[in-house]
Symmetry: C2
Subunit: 113 residues, 2 copies
């Protein structure tokens, strides 16, 4: 399952992983992979631009830090990002409930017609 299916929901996932604490880009990709049991395996070319989008929107803030002599850009949720995440969560719930009406049950599992 690639991010093409996520279209429009990727930003929400990014905010969600950052909710547990600040991470750098590569670690975000690994967190996504780990928490999804390998189902979400995103390319850097997908995640980095998305992170920059979120930063432009003010939902995350980034800072350079040097770890083991390596430059890493660490991303952190802002207050606006936290609000945006709450918003996206309810948006997701509405979206998934709506789609589920069409896809969660087939004709065989319908009660009587």
């Amino acid at each position: 399952m690639n991010a093409q299916a996520l279209h429009g929901h990727l930003d929400a996932l990014l905010l969600a992983v950052l909710e547990r604490g600040a991470l750098h880009g590569y670690a975000i990709i690994e967190a996504l992979r780990a928490r999804s049991d390998g189902r979400l395996d995103l390319a850097t070319g997908t995640v980095y631009p998305a992170l920059r989008r979120l930063e432009r929107a003010g939902h995350v803030a980034s800072a350079w830090s040097t770890v083991n002599g390596r430059e890493r850009r660490t991303y952190e949720l802002t207050d606006a990002g936290r609000r945006a995440l709450a918003d996206q969560r309810s948006g997701w719930r509405e979206f998934s409930a709506t789609v589920a009406r069409f896809l969660d049950s087939g004709p065989s599992s319908a009660p009587a017609g």
Copy 2:
């Protein structure tokens, strides 16, 4: 909620409404609106090209019929379309379960940390 959020799932919804019986394009749009309590209000410019996509893929078959002197193109699920729908259903379940891991619960609803 617009179809931009549906990205990649629209085809599945279209197949799902056609599962209950053949419909013409306009009626599909109305069925989507009705079954979603108005949440899915798709433009013809969204649905017609999608239908043509599905027809090219062999998932639906269309036929012209004249009703009340009006030409209507009626779409019907093919066997391949039925298989594709079953496929999309399981894809949807996996997708929604995966995203839900990140978005269905906030830190407040987490048990202990």
